[in-house]
Subunit: 146 residues, 4 copies
Amino acid sequence: MPRADFSCLARLRVRWAEVDMQKIVFNGHYLTYIDTALAEYWRAIGLPYPHGYVDRYGADVYLRKATVEYLGSARYDDLLEVACRVARLGRTSMTFAFEIYREKEDRPLVTAELVYVNADASMQPQPLPEDLRRLVAGYERVAPSS
Amino acid sequence: MPRADFSCLARLRVRWAEVDMQKIVFNGHYLTYIDTALAEYWRAIGLPYPHGYVDRYGADVYLRKATVEYLGSARYDDLLEVACRVARLGRTSMTFAFEIYREKEDRPLVTAELVYVNADASMQPQPLPEDLRRLVAGYERVAPSS
Amino acid sequence: MPRADFSCLARLRVRWAEVDMQKIVFNGHYLTYIDTALAEYWRAIGLPYPHGYVDRYGADVYLRKATVEYLGSARYDDLLEVACRVARLGRTSMTFAFEIYREKEDRPLVTAELVYVNADASMQPQPLPEDLRRLVAGYERVAPSS
Amino acid sequence: MPRADFSCLARLRVRWAEVDMQKIVFNGHYLTYIDTALAEYWRAIGLPYPHGYVDRYGADVYLRKATVEYLGSARYDDLLEVACRVARLGRTSMTFAFEIYREKEDRPLVTAELVYVNADASMQPQPLPEDLRRLVAGYERVAPSS
């Protein structure tokens, strides 16, 4: 059942400027779409980024790795749904999983995993705050792995 | 004689992601191209933006108005030249003129004027520094109007 | 009374990737925002772009001139409203007026005018279709000038 | 020895519009940078994209998967080098490896692998043309795996 395990869903419409001469969305723009879902996720757990996170924890999150699989192509004016959940809570990192759907379709166009590291101002990784683990656990439908 | 009055010239190649389904560069991207020429202009007069300007004058420049005329269309992989000069030095504002050419062509694809205002940290317009007027006058081939 | 004369309103939220080191939206992105409102306009009058227009009239519209005034600054996560109307119907061109507001505010952050030309496949300007004039007139709250 | 195994090198300067409020390049833009290096690669082996490829083989290449590791951060005005090579030639797919450096530095800011599939007009994967294998093999310093 698509999307069912995903706690957060962002919606957007593909813009003209995002579509290339192949008449499909340029590959890098999916990371922009994913970033809008991430913003909704932080808002949903009560840590609107950046202030909600940075002010509360005195730390910031940095993207360490992105893996994106392109299974289909979004086109101009498509209504997209970007599903987001935390798939894993590590010691200093957390992994977000994403699936991007065309509205009303059951097979995702794009799936992705993004690994973020919690780090202090000098960019040194720091353990994830227990408070953050609690907020995520309280929000997710499926418990993140560790 | 095209470009001859322009003191500063930036070069770039049109990227795949900047071209839309009409097979031409999306209109907003020309402001990005223009911004790269502006960066070269600040560098050329010895005020690399932002630090060169902000640290020296304790002020910043803010875009107030942009007028862009689209006379032709840049296409994927085109080599473009973005010509830039200061056309006018007002009391608190300065007007940059731009012409964007396809390499080796004599008629511009795009012409533009951007009006920037010199302002303090509270966004109040401030007279252009005399030092800035001197640097611009020493660099321009054609004296800016006032 | 802001927005009241504008027949069409598009909403969007400012994305992280659209905000620069000055913590404001980069100037070129407002043309992307404007383009999303334009898409809603074409949809609203029954000519979803591009097919609705191109297939019906055997012509296309090309941007000829954009004038953008920057009166304020949109910031990350702002909810924006892009108001759009046709301000003028010329012989071969039509002028769209835009105002961009932060949600619930009365003074626009940006105002703009974009002049589009109706042209055939060889880019020669052609008179605006009478059918298009009728559709626009039937939709606008304030009659466009001519 | 960094870059030494990479057959193709593209250079670019980070634009103002590509840098976010964290004062670093937004993560999705690295895929745009990578795409400019890919364009140089196709040009270098005599198949300038898209026509060089599409017209010669009656097929096109589609991105299937992108893996990007973020090891450091590019900043405004940085001069970057995007190194590119073909790391693997499969039956229907080819894997490009990329490393992005700040000029004169020895440690990459970003490494990436992009898997492209050769497919016909109906998007069905097709074996890589032997001619393409030959062109790649003749250009690479290090033989791609298979």
